[in-house]
């Protein structure tokens, strides 16, 4: 009779729980949702433990399962094709309206950020970035997450989110403009300058 090696699942949680959770929450922005997906991931890992042959580290294996769960989540969320008109969305975007004047010039335009890479060493900066992503309208946030955080190809993002090339272009454009604006106001040039909390 085959002897099944018992996995110490408590150890799994202690060693990997927070990392998986951190990974999930950056992509989902919602604690409850992130907790659910982490739980699903561990359960799937438990059921599929025979497929883990030690070809990668345990954590890499678990993150792989988590990524699948996240993709399933996105596909389900965006299964219904969006009927919004991308060009109209762009026009209706109040943040965008403030950025350019009638002639299409910056109003007032990006401020100097100095040496932005220096910010990467500051823990607080990552929180601000994560917060700024979360503040995006949900579809824009998800598009940005899939394309930039997960580095999926434009085609893959379109498939998962069930949108056209035009839609994707507009959404990423809006996401980047919003994000840039948010980071400028909350980090590089805003009242909450790094160091002053």
């Amino acid at each position: 009779m085959a002897q099944q090696k018992r996995i110490d699942t408590d150890r799994w949680l202690d060693e990997h729980g927070d990392t998986l959770f951190g990974y999930a929450i950056v992509r989902l922005g919602d604690r409850d949702l992130a907790e659910d997906i982490v739980q699903e991931t561990f359960l799937a890992a438990l059921r599929g433990q025979d497929t883990y042959l030690g070809q990668s580290s345990e954590r890499t294996w678990l993150i792989g399962i988590l990524k699948h769960k996240l993709m399933d989540h996105y596909r389900k969320r965006y299964r219904e094709r969006s009927l919004t008109d991308a060009a109209q969305e762009l026009q209706d975007d109040p943040v965008m309206e403030q950025m350019f004047d009638d002639r299409g010039h910056w109003k007032p335009g990006p401020s100097r950020w100095g040496n932005p890479r220096a910010a990467l060493h500051e823990k607080e900066f990552w929180r601000v970035l994560r917060e700024c992503i979360q503040r995006l309208p949900e579809r824009l946030a998800d598009t940005f997450r899939l394309r930039v955080l997960d580095e999926l190809s434009s085609e893959d993002v379109r498939n998962i989110m069930n949108i056209s090339t035009t839609n994707l272009g507009v959404m990423l454009y809006r996401a980047r403009l919003h994000l840039r604006h948010c980071l400028e106001r909350n980090w590089f040039h805003g009242p909450t300058m790094k160091g002053n909390t």
């Binding site: 018992r6 996995i7 699942t9 408590d10 799994w12 949680l13 729980g17 927070d18 990392t19 959770f21 951190g22 990974y23 929450i25 950056v26 604690r31 907790e35 982490v38 739980q39 561990f42 359960l43 438990l46 059921r47 950025m99 350019f100 002639r103 299409g104 010039h105 910056w106 335009g109 990006p110 100097r112 950020w113 932005p116 890479r117 990467l120 823990k123 990552w126 929180r127 970035l129 994560r130 940005f144 394309r147 930039v148 955080l149 580095e151 434009s154 994707l168 272009g169 990423l172 454009y173 980047r176 403009l177 994000l179 840039r180 980071l183």
Partner: protein, 84 residues
Amino acid sequence: MLACKKASRLICDALDRDLTRRERIALRFHLCICNMCRRFRKQARFLQEIGVELEEAVEKGVLQDRLSPEARERIKEALRQGES
């Protein structure tokens, strides 16, 4: 002649697809004479890079997101049930 609004769109598009030759030329010309858009391009590229680096920050635990004790226990319990 491109206006900045259109240029900013092309700058973003260039991060996800190849621009057409016409678009490339128009954008290059605009960037020669517009420092605002040059600045914007630097910042847009920075945003692209840090997206990737956020990944690493997460894996290194820089953000210190933690499961709540309740969630941790709940999941542990679910796994114990799953094992039996």
